[in-house]
Amino acid sequence: MPRLLRKRETLLFIIIAVMIAAFSTRADGFATPGNLSGIFNDTSILIILALAQMTVILTKSIDLSVAANLAFTGMAIAMLNATYPGLPLVVLILAAILIGACLGAINGFLVWALEIPPIVVTLGTLTIYRGMAFVLSGGEWVNAHQMTPTFLNVPRTVVMGMPILSWAAVIIVALIYVVLKYTQFGRSTYAAGGNPTAAVYAGIDVGWTKFLAFVLSGALAGLASYLWVSRYAVAYVDIANGFELDSVAACVIGGISIAGGVGSVLGTVLGALFLGVIKNALPVIGISPFTQMAISGTVIILAVVFNARRERNRGRIILRDKAAAEIPAEVAA
């Protein structure tokens, strides 16, 4: 199946499998189902945020505020939980999704209505949302003992062999897959990023599509905030600091074109898992966190080089006829 082999996702899957095999030769028990399921669970939040990021990147935008959104929303619901322990968890989760979506809508509005470049908008709101988290909490932490047991335990509860945290990621993967593949909004994200002008000519409101992508990204960041706060059982201003870059990295490794319009849900998930495996494996085989960062960075650059080469190849197909026409002239000369 050479066609399947040439696909980015297959290649990434093989690389991950080889990595796991290699690590398991150095660390016993690395490749056991229990450990792998643990890695997946560890990577769940990254998967959700990477899918949020991917939706935005598909429209030729970027959302650098996802982690700051997570920090603010996480703080807000942690405080709600601490102050009103009687509130049902469902309400808190819905509140998290809603608050996140509102923050995403602010990004989307600025991009859509004021036509400010997304990188500038979200760089600004990144700082603002973290600042808001500080103002909200006054710099205080919300610790495990202030949270209700339900709040803390639900994501850890094992259902059908996996914690609910992992199931949340699985459900979101399925949801985003359906949204991108089977809805008009999904098609519009690809079209808006693939060729914005052609999208306009086809009757697609590119600005509105971007707005919706940011709202979706915010809502997912909101959901992720609850998962994060309950998993680490603490909320403070600096949680998930720098995590927006991990979400972008997962997309890039997964073959999502930063220029928009190209990418798959499977690619993003594999990109996130790739980072998850590295993060979990390197400490096991005794590599320091700083070396880990360098390794992650190298991988990201390699992925970008790989993407760029692929884009050039595509260009060559378009110019194939022209190139063929030019060769005789060169031979003659």
């Binding site: 593949k181 690809y190 693939g194 060729n195 999208a199 000519y201 086809a202 595509r314």
Partner: protein, 513 residues
Amino acid sequence: MLMNNALQHNVASVAPGDVPAILEMRGISQIFPGVKALDNVSISLYPGKVTALIGENGAGKSTLVKILTGIYRPNEGEILVDGKVTTFANAQAAIDAGVTAIHQETVLFDELTVAENIFLGHAPRTRFRTIDWALMNSRAKALLVSLESNIDPTIRLKDLSIAQRHLVAISRALSIEARIVIMDEPTAALSRKEIDDLFRIVEGLKAQGKAILFISHKFDELYEIADNFAVFRDGRAVGHGNLKATPQDEIVRLMVGRDVENAFPKVDVAIGGPVLQVEKYCHQTEFRDISLTLRKGEILGIYGLIGAGRSELCQSLFGITKPLSGKLSLDGREIAINSPLDAIRAGIVYVPEERGRHGLALPMPIYQNMTLPSLGRTSRKGFLKAANEFALARKYAERLDLRAAALSVPVGTLSGGNQQKVVIGKWLATMPKVIILDEPTKGIDIGSKAAVHGFISELAAEGLSIIMISSELPEIIGMSDRVLVMKEGLSAGLFERKDLTPEALVRAATGNA
């Protein structure tokens, strides 16, 4: 295979005054996928002479300019500079050979200063290899003064008018000591006074012995400034000589001169009642007071020079831009079109001129491109149905004879001609009442053109109303039931089929009696 055009070098390499040409192009051919943009053309440029390059849009003028500036390498032929064969391998080689081009929209850098623009790439250096700003500014000043201009070389280019930018471009040409200056429609955006100033400079360049290739659509200007002429048509050089000794009628005949009657077997279609009525459409900057009626089964041609406002008019009918005032009715009911979506829903579609840039998302599969404006119809309860999309795409792929390995491959992998078919299929799939075709055969070869024309006729026979923008006279005359000629944003006449002659249309479009 490429040599089937016999040698027909009829251009003398020596001018009547026996001055040898500075630059001579011999038997140049440039082939693009499916198109022979230039077919065995020869042209000579003489010192101290202005040569007018004349031809319809698509005649190959721009291709020639790109070869002369080292952007394209011709498939055949040779370029001689001072009688020696020279290869223009890249833009720098052309500059080294003394060729420079001043483009319609000058290719300069808005955020750099005037002096930087003039000396970009060859700025004077200090001992430490850093840019010698003082020397650069003073040299720039001197160049501008020699052109009787008092532009401050230290201000940014973006603060200059278009005429001043031309001066900067000319200064740049002088700074690299160009001997061959190409001016590609330099007067398009200039006022009469600015044109007079420009022409004085051109006279100055002539006096310095520079050879000038001057491209313009405006005959009055050409007769004012040019000495020699060369006429291109469909990529061939069809005539050359002394311009002053050649009457304008003769030039027009050379430009359009072929039997247009038989080339386009337009099918006669029974024309029905009015479908689209446009009344007094005005735009802020692009056009004014345009009224037209499009009837069922009719092909309405819109002819005019580049910049006459034809595409802008049609884009406003499609909701890309908003008109300032005016009324639009479809099937007798007044409608408001505020976005392309409104237009598509009303049944008006627009197939843009730049089909790659405006028409296709290259990374997306063929079928997704085809169904993009029709997703409302192929979806069920808000969910996309791939099966319906494939069915719709297959229907139009078959109808248009689209050649592709599968409908799920990215459009970017198709050849140019097949990409065009995807664009057209995409719009037909919306089942429009009115289809606007902007230069439908631009950049495709003669054989494919005939197929496109046949297809347009077929659509009209099915009762579609068609607006066809075209700069090609044979096409517009051969295909249209009526022709609206636009000139500088205004209607310059509506011609019935029986009154369609090349001369009448060119005269209306260029405003020359």
